[in-house]
């Protein structure tokens, strides 16, 4: 049995019917066809599916879709600036060579964004903690950490 839910997705109010068994990731990827959010494991261990819910970085693959009710959700599709430019963290990842295969990247962006929105001047440890749940096999994380630092340091 499907149930109605209402939530805010990338600043837009969404009213839709969902199967309560779905995860938020399923709704995003399979139903709404918003494939920017990736699935790397499906059980909360890789962070590729990270979205921001009410300011917190969350693994959407573990998030029961009914919990979205009334919440404010931001996905990778929702963080480009109004002008069409990249968000500073996206820009920094590009400029610092922090992207290789890119499969982890949307999740990295969201985790880093949640950190940068919350903390004006995160420390190196804050940065590593914020992406500790985001696995990347390509980059060795060095340029990713540098990219996040450059955003934090530049303001």
């Amino acid at each position: 049995m499907k149930k109605a839910i209402t939530f805010t997705l990338n600043n837009e109010v969404i009213e839709t019917e969902v199967d309560p068994k779905w995860t938020l990731l399923y709704l995003l990827r399979e139903v709404l066809e918003m494939t920017g959010t990736k699935e790397g494991c499906g059980y909360g261990e890789c962070g590729a599916c990270t979205v921001i819910i009410n300011g917190q970085a969350v693994d959407s693959c573990l998030y029961p879709v009914m919990e979205a009710e009334g919440r404010k959700i931001t996905t990778i599709e929702g963080i480009m600036l109004k002008s069409g430019e990249l968000d500073p963290i996206q820009q920094a990842l590009v400029q610092n060579g922090a992207v290789q295969c890119g499969f982890c990247t949307p999740g990295m962006v969201m985790s880093a964004k949640a950190l940068l929105d919350e903390k004006e001047r995160p420390t190196e440890d804050d940065i590593k903690d914020s992406i500790a749940g985001n696995l990347c096999r390509c980059t060795g994380y060095v340029n990713i950490v540098d990219a996040i630092k450059s955003v934090a340091g530049g303001r």
Binding site: K38, G42, G140
Partner: protein, 760 residues
């Protein structure tokens, strides 16, 4: 060379904006109209007879469109390096990843449900999970038809006279080393979509790293299925990591093809993370006996190695990794007398494949650990023994490798200086330093008969450039490197170049993203094509400017006379001239680059690569004697790369490779019990996270390789080759125990310390 404006610059990756916005389309994201979802049922046991498969209930489930078993595979089709692997097994299963049945359904959930309805009866057979057991007299045969569990592959290299050299050696060190199964852990799992048109031509949406070769594999399959004279088109989606895992074709791809044929619908199979762990082909474990000797001055006299590799149940490219292991075995440092024998052995484990480094990490672990043992016996500093024996330009090694550019000494010295080797070594205060060097192919590797790559460059769209290349972008940045090379030659901006690299209907031949060959081969190919089209452009411009082509050049998209800057014409105009004139033409150039390297002869001699990549890694560790924990305090990775076309992307290869190497050294290990993977998830398989990254410096040593594009050599694999022995050597320096079995876990360190009686 100082006038370069694109090559040598830290230019962001061209596809990065697509990836940071989530707009890049991976196989996971891909849908084709009418598409069905395929799922695979795997064996319950590593070795068993299949007594009965009942698919009746699964077939009746609403939404199921096809169920296949081994009986549905036409003409006994088998794939793989030795053609020993049927996509769906009949009669007997030989490993726990053996495919038993497959389903196509209108949704992934229904397909999954249908798998649960398939009933299989097995009779479990005793399995062989240790290659040494498999080699014993009278051991049951994994593949009865091959009459032996040892693969009939001729891995034996002999140069000089090892026995004589032993007698003449002042010091000899010998020991045994072993390494573990590890897996690629691509963040994007494997997958494909197989689709047939009305005429049974196949389109595969794929994330292969060998499009031209995969095309051939599928063609062979179609032929065996009775579809003669068909066409195969491969379209690569954005690839979520390769590292060698996509260097072969796999059962799931043939299953998707068979399901698509049966249902007449496109069929998509994408692996779950669990499948990615147990049903892809990892880097095999090895057991190595090594002995090395030197004279009284520390000059190496011989190297003798015997190796057993667990091949697993079927043969893929993993069984050919001894050919690349030979590179360090014969040619890391100057050593004239070599003996190497390797046996690849069938077991009931998962089967091995290529993984970044292609055997080199396993061989180098033994060589470089043992070299420190030898140095100790000879009373020589490990740094000195490496400097004494370092390779040099102009050398011809025992395998007939012709060493051209070689920055090995510079790399060793960079490491020593940056680590403060003299100040830190030999303190035995729980802190220690260690180093290890590497050699790898750096100018392609002639593994197949061809080592070539084609490029087509065309100019259209108001002077913009399309570069159509055979090479694959697997995240390493080939698209950007090729653009930099072409932009440099043509005097245009990177953004004015569009690289097309993902469709075999359009792209020319290439043998794939492997052997660290893409910058070298695809780069040279693109360089040649760019020069050709530039000559055409200048010829047209010369006519229009009334100049001689020799005195023209291009900068910022404008052709100008080097004698008289006032005489110039923008590229867009040149293009218009060629299109809008009587008897007009196109501006197109093509170039095929097949490097002048050699296949091995039957004695494994031949200049496998046009040039060789060198490097040295140094590490400072701190060992906690109470817990056995090893902490990396400082990590230096120095690499001779010829020339860095893009230092930023190059450092990315070093950082990424290095951390894979650290995972290999200190934690990663696939744990099998009776052939069944027990830690196939990211919680239990310890892939490094951001918190495991030590302070690391990537040091680029440039040696200007004459045969490379703008002097460049390959760097895709070297970053993880010397990591494990460098760490093992540092641990020895810190606490006096040598761990010879990877990964170096705290338990092993603790046990070794206890055995040494250092702990009360």
């Amino acid at each position: 060379m100082s006038s370069l404006t694109k090559v040598g610059q830290r230019i962001p990756k061209k596809d990065a904006p697509l990836k940071v916005t989530g707009a890049a389309i991976y196989i996971q994201d891909m849908k084709v109209p009418g598409m069905l979802y395929g799922k695979i049922l795997y064996s319950k046991y590593a070795h068993a007879k299949i007594l009965k498969i009942d698919t009746g209930k699964a077939e009746k489930l609403a939404g199921v469109r096809a169920v296949l078993t081994g009986a549905d595979v036409p003409n006994n089709f088998k794939f793989g390096f030795l053609k020993d692997n049927p996509p769906l097994k009949t009669g007997k299963v030989l490993s726990a990843r053996d495919e038993i049945a497959a389903v196509a359904a209108i949704s992934a959930e229904i397909a999954e449900e249908a798998l649960d309805l398939i009933e299989v009866e097995y009779e479990e057979l005793p399995g062989i999970f240790d290659p040494l057991d498999a080699m014993k007299e009278g051991a049951p045969l994994i593949h009865e038809e091959f009459k032996s569990n040892v693969l009939k592959l001729p891995w034996k290299l002999v140069a000089g006279d090892v026995e004589e050299a032993k007698k003449a050696s002042a010091y000899i060190a010998e020991d045994s080393f072993s390494t573990q199964w590890v897996t690629h852990c691509c963040l994007g799992t494997s997958g494909c979509i197989a689709a047939f048109d009305m005429n049974n031509n196949l389109t595969m949406y794929s994330n292969t790293q060998i499009p031209s070769l995969a095309q051939n594999d599928y063609l062979e399959a179609l032929k065996t299925f009775g579809l003669k004279n068909k066409r195969v088109r491969i379209i690569q989606c954005v690839i979520g990591g390769g590292f060698g895992s996509k260097l072969d074709t796999y059962a799931y791809e043939y299953i998707a093809i068979l399901l698509a044929l049966k249902t007449r619908k496109p069929v998509k199979i994408v692996f779950s993370r669990e499948e990615e762990f147990f049903a892809t082909s990892p880097r095999q474990c090895t057991i190595t006996k090594i002995s090395q000797g030197c004279d009284k001055d520390g000059r190496l006299t011989f190297r003798e190695m015997e190796m057993v590799l667990d091949n697993g149940a079927y043969v893929s490219w993993g069984a050919t990794t001894p050919s690349v292991m030979m590179v360090p075995i014969s040619s890391l440092y100057k050593v004239q007398n070599i003996k190497y024998v390797a046996k690849c052995v069938y077991t009931n484990n998962t089967y091995s494949q290529a993984m970044r480094g292609y055997g080199n990490p396993q061989a180098t672990f033994a060589i470089e650990s043992c070299l420190d043992q030898l140095a100790e016996k000879a009373g020589i500093d490990p740094l000195e023994i490496r400097r004494i024996n370092a390779n040099e330009p102009g050398e011809i090694t025992p395998q007939n490798f012709r060493i051209t550019s070689c920055g090995m000494k510079e790399c060793i010295d960079e490491v020593a200086n940056r680590l403060d080797w003299k100040g830190k070594r030999g303190k035995h205060n729980n802190r220690g330093v260690g180093m290890a060097s590497l050699i790898h192919v750096g100018g392609a590797a002639r593994v197949y008969k061809s080592d070539g790559c084609g490029t087509i460059i065309k100019m259209d769209d108001n002077g913009k450039v399309d570069v159509i290349t055979g090479s694959s972008e697997i995240g390493q940045g080939s698209e950007t490197i090729i653009s930099q090379i072409v932009a440099e030659v043509l005097g245009i901006n990177i953004d004015d170049i569009n690289v097309i690299n993902n469709d075999t209907d359009v792209c020319p031949w290439d043998v794939g993203a492997h052997a660290s060959r893409t910058t070298f081969v695809a780069g040279n190919s693109a360089l040649g094509a760019a020069r050709k089209i530039k000559a055409q452009i200048l010829e047209v411009a010369a006519k229009n400017l009334g100049e001689d082509p020799q005195s023209l050049d291009i900068k910022d998209g404008v052709v100008f006379s080097t004698k008289d800057k006032e005489k110039n014409i923008p590229l867009s105009k040149v293009l218009r001239k060629v299109h809008y004139s009587l008897g007009g033409r196109m501006l197109v150039a093509e170039n095929f680059y097949d490097p002048p390297n050699e296949n091995f002869d039957q004695n494994f001699r031949g200049n496998l690569s046009v040039s060789y990549a060198y490097g040295a890694h140094g590490v400072e560790v701190e060992v906690d004697k109470d817990t056995g924990q090893v902490k990396i305090l400082n990590y230096i990775a120095a690499h001779d790369v010829g020339k860095a076309i893009n230092p930023m992307l190059l450092e990315g290869q070093i950082y990424g490779g290095g951390l894979q190497g650290i995972g290999y050294a200190l934690g990663e290990r696939m744990i099998f019990e009776k052939g069944v993977l027990k830690n196939g998830n990211f919680l239990d398989y310890k892939m490094p996270t951001a918190k495991d990254v030590p302070p690391v410096q990537a040091v680029i040593v440039e040696t200007d390789e004459q045969a490379g594009p703008f002097g460049a050599k390959g760097i895709g694999e070297p970053g993880l080759v010397p990591t494990a022995p460098a760490i093992a050597n540092a641990i020895y320096d810190a606490v006096g125990v040598r761990i010879k079995d990877l990964p170096i876990t705290p338990e092993k360190v603790l046990r070794a310390l206890q055995e040494k009686g250092k702990i009360a």
